[in-house]
Amino acid sequence: MVNEQVKEKYVKIFLYFTASFSILVLIAIMFFIAIKGMGMLTVEFLTTAPYRFEYGGIYPQIIGTLYLTGVCMVFAGPIGILAGIYLSEYAPVNIITKILRFFVESLAGVPSIVIGLFGLAFLVYYMHFQISLFSGGLALGFMILPWTVRASEEAIRAVPFSYREASLALGASKWQTIKEVVAKAAAPGIVTGLLLGLGKAIGETAVVLLTAGSGLESFLPRSIFEPVASLPVYLYMIATQGHTSEAYNRAYGAALVLLGIFLVINVFASLLRNYYIKKHRVRFG
């Protein structure tokens, strides 16, 4: 009996250790990037264009990343929400719905580099969209579509059934009920889901590298069919090909900015999620 108690203690220590390890890794990475990158965060670095690996700032990269995720969201947002509405409110329990779900899951499992290759073959060469903002944004949209679908579906499902009953009892049609009651109640949840998808799209490198541009462009695209710079690709290029300390400093700066944007989106998403859970007393996600 005493033996078991002692064992319990050792097991507990070991479990504590493994659990704290996973937090420590996260903290270590963030601190390291923050400390190394902090020195680069000057107004000049954030507002000028890069020149080769060692000079200039990352303004076109920051704006380019925002453009890319914007195009991505214009595609994946509406389609994801509409598909989520269908799956939660309309989809009958039959083989077709099963197939729909199967393909949403399948798309979620496609490795990002395969999406990149597909974007290159289909969007860039077959559709002649060129290496461009449009190709890159759309390819990113393909990648995060399953996340926006699932998040919308979950958020809509979490709306209490009584809301729907009340609206239908007042004589509203099914679509009116969804549009006026269900969608409004689910809005914070849907936005949370979209933001988490956005966080995924912002850091994606392989897809953008193959379809949107080389990352070092020093100009913003003048049209949607021109190449666009982006933070992750810039970071990749400069970290693997610039071998001077000046280049590395820029890589730290870019990594910090990227991490910062990612964190802001995530914190905002989780605040919104907490607000939503409190308001509706429901759990989702």
Binding site: A19, G109, F118, Y125, T205
Partner: protein, 287 residues
Amino acid sequence: MKRQIREAIIEKGLFLAASASIIIVMLIIIFMFAEGIRALNFDFLFGMEWWPSGEKFGIIPTVVSTFIIGLGALGIAIIIGIPCAIFLSEYSRDPIRSIIKSSVEMLVGIPSIVLGFFGLVVLVPLIRYNIGGLGESILAGWIILSIMTLPHIISISEDAMRAVPNSFREGSIALGSTTWQTTKALIIPNAKSGIFASIVLGMGNAIGETMAVLMVIGNPNIPWIPQSILDQVRVLTSTIVIEISYAIWGSMHQYSLFALGIVLFAVVSVLNLISRLIIKEEIRKRW
């Protein structure tokens, strides 16, 4: 009547939006095969040499390296991840549990390029000066990739353990068992298929991961079957990213890179399918 027509049209429109995933997946399959099928032959699948300028495209060394990197990373992730999941599900209460859980979830999303960069500037020199070799190595790949795989393993196996009914725990504790005895005898056996599903899914994630692993494994020009964990290697994903930028469109080299993509897609899809079947079977059994 008009209202019914409008409702019907809306339903069809929503159905169309829901079908977008089917269309995209179909297009991916069609275009990957259209580009890659010409390179998918015996010499490609069983060739030992990958040498683009000599028109030699054999993928065995790359595939072997991919599995070595994936399995090793998975091993590390299991050793840390499963105990962490046990801690979260059986040993912790709310403030601590939710703090750890949300940091683990955050770890899932950290841009892989940032993790890879961290590996390149911290891990690689650490290995080079303390253990030996060039630093860019299988070992570095294992460590970085295990950090990326860890969150998936933790969150799915924790879900599986928490799904074990509380009455099991209460019964066992009432008989005088310690928490660890309960975990060992009841929780793990009952959650084992969920845990297994998380491992298979983690493997799929590890093999499909691109940027983080690319930056720390060295990617030698001519891939070989590694002899030690300090060797540089090349994996499926890194080969595609590095070579697609200079492969001439319409050449055998480009077709071979798309064929690599098909192989990768196939392996990852099979792993995902297996883990999904396990989870589905588990849910069916429970209800």
